[in-house]
Amino acid sequence: MARIIVVTSGKGGVGKTTTSAAIAMGLAKKGHKTAVIDFDVGLRNLDLIMGCERRVVYDFVNVINGEATLRQALIKDKRCNQLFILPASQTRDKDALTQEGVGKILEELSKEFKYIVCDSPAGIERGANLAMYFADDAFVVTNPEVSSVRDSDRMLGILASKSRRAEQGEEAIKEYLLLSRYSPERVKLGEMLSVEDVQDILSLHLLGVIPESKSVLNASNSGIPVILDEESNAGQSYSDIVARYLGEDVPHRFIDEEKKGLFGKLFGRK
């Protein structure tokens, strides 16, 4: 049986797609057969960040409508043979997704895959609800600012009451906090909430802190999940997150201001 992970947030633009691409690649690189699904019907973003946009023939909605088989629609990643991408449709609207259709696809994928990563659209509407409905684990991506934290809290409420697990009275979805675009310097200046502030509001298990990093934009511009940029601190933090999720004991990093050595000062790598 597969483990279904939803990457969700409530608020838009906080790093869900970046995170979905990174952790799906991370899990696959660890040898687990992984599928990553774009639930953002109408926008289509994941395939760009995964660098497979020119290989899209069929999409999620085609499969739901029976116009293509899963096998036809899944795109195999060129860098890692354990990773498959199910792209969203750009030409349909959000109503094309149905709970029944999504359920069927996830069930079929579950037979073959170890992990299924669902990249949720922003908001708390249909698309986001369907992305989280069947989840076993929720990665709640939050930026260190009040509105993002609030929306995450709202999303957590929905996870606890409107998911399949909640409706059927099963064990609750496991919720993890991923604090993204974190900048210790700005926390120090009082411009951002600290890890403690966010934890105080959300009381959630912290899976990792992803630092604000230029490497994220560079990576997505070139269609490479940032986790593959092993030099970048964002890439490293996603590697830590995957390892922690898989049960490894990895100390947290990127929470405190980096003490730059002579080398760092000279070359100022970020």
């Binding site: 809290d153 409420g157 606890a160």
Partner: protein, 251 residues
């Protein structure tokens, strides 16, 4: 789920009459001066717009009908509608007012004597026959089924209602609402709304580890975050009702 009230209920037969109770704010009118009423109503609503938006209200006329000139009920109803409040009942109306109420499709309640199915949050319900809550405390036994224990944080957008005491082992987020007919205990920060004694029990209290609430209410007497800001407490706090006023003190 008990934490969500939006789940649709499907039954085999198309409809069914059930006896149930719900709570609604009671608007006690103290004057027949409509201008004054309108002005103060606007002020109150501005303090907690979300709380009042499209809210049902029960109009209680017992304190304004002693005057020789009874209040113009038609005008009052129009005023309430303009403020997006929906009167769902009237109590202590005189015969003329009763006719007007019926004309506006608003049920007429006789609070004394017959018992209505509507239990209310404010002073009116204290005149009702003893509430379940008070009966329970009288003989000193606590019915475990009526009390509710929540061991996870109550998140923004969630609402919880307990028929007895409500104990929350975590925090209550901003944007969340917890209600109990008895006491409310929050073993974390109270950042949302907490309404204790919602069936009118003035003896009920609210306890929390830190008070940063948006609204607290006991038996319908409430304070909003505007009043509470000055009183924000970062230590264990108790809220009780004394002489119709909320008393907030450290534990």
């Amino acid at each position: 789920m008990s934490t969500d009230t939006e789940a649709p209920i499907y039954t085999k037969s198309a409809l069914e009459f059930k006896s149930s109770s719900f709570s609604s704010p009671v608007l006690v009118i103290h004057t027949t001066e409509l201008k004054q009423i309108t002005h103060q109503l606007k002020e109150k609503i501005a303090q907690a717009p979300e709380f009042f938006k499209n809210s049902p209200v029960l109009i209680d006329l017992q304190h304004c009908n002693d005057d020789e000139h009874p209040i113009d009920l038609g005008q009052l109803i129009t005023t309430l509608h303009a403020e997006k409040l929906f009167p769902i009942g009237i109590s202590s109306a005189n015969e003329d007012q009763k006719l007007i109420a019926i004309k506006y499709h608003i049920p007429v309640h006789t609070i004394r004597g017959t018992h209505s199915d509507i239990s209310t949050t404010k002073s009116v319900s204290t005149q009702n026959k003893p509430q379940e809550g008070t009966e329970k405390t009288k003989d000193g036994t606590i019915n475990a089924i009526e009390n509710m224990l929540i061991s996870h944080p109550v998140r923004s957008g969630q609402r919880i209602y307990a028929k007895g005491d409500l104990t929350i082992l975590s925090h209550v987020s901003a944007g969340a609402e917890v209600m109990a007919e008895g006491n409310i205990h929050v073993y974390g920060a109270l950042r949302g709304r907490a309404l204790a004694g919602v069936q009118g029990n003035p003896e009920s209290r609210i306890f929390c580890s830190a008070l940063q609430a948006e609204l607290v209410s006991i038996a319908g007497h409430y304070k909003t975050s505007e009043d509470l800001d000055k009183l924000e407490q970062h230590q264990p706090t108790q809220i009780s009702l004394q002489d119709q006023a909320l008393i907030i003190n450290n534990l």
